[in-house]
């Protein structure tokens, strides 16, 4: 059974079909990449899966439960978390506090208890702080825990968003172009981080343009172009697919892919 299944999904914005009859199934514990040229509908697909958009047609299922049209909060409760292409960091909070917010779905105290600062709130604060600190340590950002997020470098902010998403203890993690704007060193670290996440048993859905990263890390690749499925398969299969090469990888890309092979 797939942990995430999308069936005949379509969504349109003002008459333009951003996604047209796309179906895919993600097996649990795999790194599943979605690639395609700009405007192919990759982020839109993520937005539908994470509940930010409601599709026109089709369905989204998480562990065989129909979650089509449910809001993001409901999906978070079902263990789906994500990062954003254009960072949605809480800039007015510190790095640690950003990750602490990630723990929110496991926090149980309400507003009244908070107002009165009952002991349970103190305990909750401590637990959350510890969990967030551990998450930062794992991703290598412990040194900047108390710095305001607005002062962090771009690469660190990308990692912070991943740490924050991980703090919610998801079973499915959607990473939206995590390597965008990162240099070679940062991308290398990112590859290790994603590998570590997958090894922990979390299913990773990845939208990426960096072909080396995609080829190195993906267990399965789904190619989108103009909102439609172009091809799907393992890294080797997709690399060899002539339609994909022609539409997307191009000469440069296929050389990259050949290099990534070793």
């Amino acid at each position: 059974m797939s942990i995430v299944a999308v069936e005949h999904l379509s969504i349109a914005f003002g008459g333009v079909r951003a996604i047209d009859d796309v179906s895919l199934a993600v097996r649990e514990g795999l790194v599943f990449s979605i690639i395609g040229p700009n405007g192919a509908g990759k982020t839109t697909l993520f937005n539908v899966i994470s509940g930010l958009y409601v599709p026109l047609e089709g369905s989204v299922r998480i562990r065989d439960e129909n979650v089509t049209g449910l809001p993001p909060e409901a999906l978070a409760r079902r263990g789906v978390s994500r990062t954003f292409q254009n960072l949605q960091i809480f800039f007015r909070m510190s790095a640690l506090e950003n990750v602490m917010v990630g723990c929110h779905r496991h926090e149980t105290t309400g507003a009244l208890a908070s107002l009165l600062h009952l002991p349970e709130v103190k305990r909750q604060n401590r637990r959350t702080r510890e969990a967030a600190t551990r998450a930062l340590e794992r991703i290598g950002l412990a040194a900047v825990a108390d710095m305001p997020a607005s002062s962090l470098s771009f690469g660190n902010l990308k990692r912070l968003e991943i740490a924050r998403a991980l703090a919610s203890e998801p079973s499915v993690l959607l990473l939206d172009e995590p390597a965008a704007g990162c240099n070679a060193v940062e991308t290398e670290e990112l590859t290790k981080i994603i590998r570590g996440i997958a090894d922990d048993g979390i299913t990773v859905l990845l939208v990426e343009h960096d072909m080396r990263l995609v080829m190195q890390i993906s267990d399965y690749i789904h190619v989108l172009a103009n909102g439609r499925t172009l091809a799907a398969g393992t890294a080797a299969e997709v690399r060899a697919n002539p339609a994909v090469i022609e539409a997307y990888l191009g000469v440069h890309g296929s050389q990259e892919a050949a290099h990534a092979d070793g």
């Binding site: 914005f13 003002g14 982020t43 937005n47 930010l52 954003f84």
Partner: protein, 290 residues
């Protein structure tokens, strides 16, 4: 039936003022994304300045002209002194600035003029015109005609002159406008000036009917904004239709339901529009892309 016609005419007369205030809002909003709460003060300044210049012995037509000129300058000044320095700030900061300006202008009017209500003589006398059993003031027709003339002039200016097109270009895409050599700062300033002029004329025309006083600005601004929202914020046709509609709704509810809660009608309209159809009558629904 005659009651209906009576309410209708008094409604759209005031509605014409709301329409002009809303038009001013729209012009400024389109050029700069600012909701100008001082819009109502422009109306107040038009009427009050004319009255006091008249009291000082200036012949009324000249007084009216000077009043419009003065208010236009105030509009420019508002942009230059208060809005331009805060360019790029978020919506709430800008609203607070225009609210501050509105309170400031009210304070000035309080001191320079006085706290009383004042009137101006109507253009064609007070003899009511009888139509369908209702008694309509000639000044009503003056207001409606004046508003129509302003709307047409504005449309002609925007649509037919290069200057007008430059303002629209600034409104549509500020960066692109600057790239083709348009001085966007001046354009936004002009939109403030024109809005102020429109407001001032509206104030002068309506004073013979509704009187003027230092405090009328606040409610007018709110009602003008309600009208703009009703028609669709940023849409000129919407401002006009919204204004007339709001005036009519107000008059009918005051006449048939309760005159005590007349002022509440505008707020109820705002709340209704926001919850039922936020984009207004002519607007298109907004869509936030992630």
């Amino acid at each position: 039936m005659s009651e209906f016609v009576q309410f209708f005419f008094s409604g759209i007369t005031v509605g014409a003022v709301y329409a002009l205030v809303a038009l001013g809002f729209t012009l400024i909003y389109n050029a700069s994304d600012v909701i100008n709460f001082a819009q109502g003060e422009f109306v107040m300044l038009g009427g009050m300045t004319t009255v006091f210049l008249g009291l000082a012995g200036v012949p009324l037509p000249l007084a009216a002209l000077l009043a419009v000129l003065l208010t236009t300058i105030v509009g420019f000044a508002l942009h230059r002194i208060a809005i331009e320095p805060a360019r790029g700030a978020n919506a709430v900061v800008l609203i607070m600035i225009t609210i501050g300006a509105s309170i400031f202008l009210r304070g000035v009017a309080q001191v320079v003029f006085d706290k009383g209500f004042h009137s101006l003589p109507p253009l064609f006398g007070n003899a009511p015109i009888h139509f369908a059993g209702a008694a309509i003031l000639p000044q009503s027709l003056v207001v409606l005609a004046g508003a129509a003339v302003i709307v047409v002039l504005l449309w002609a200016f925007i649509d037919r002159t290069l200057f007008g097109k430059a303002i629209i270009a600034t409104a549509v895409n500020r960066v692109a406008a600057r790239l083709v050599g348009i001085d966007t700062r001046r354009m936004v300033g002009f939109s403030f000036g024109i809005s102020a002029a429109i407001g001032a004329v509206a104030g002068i025309l309506i004073t013979p009917i509704t009187l003027t006083g230092y405090e009328i600005g606040t409610l007018l601004a709110l009602k003008g904004f309600a009208a703009a929202m009703l028609g669709g914020i940023g849409i000129a046709a919407g401002a006009v239709v919204g204004g007339l509609l709001l005036g009519a709704i107000e008059a009918f509810s005051a006449g048939y339901i309760s005159s005590q809660y007349k002022d509440a009608v505008a707020f109820l309209v705002i709340l209704l529009v926001l919850f039922v159809r936020p984009q207004g009558i002519f607007g298109k629904p907004k869509f936030e892309r992630v």
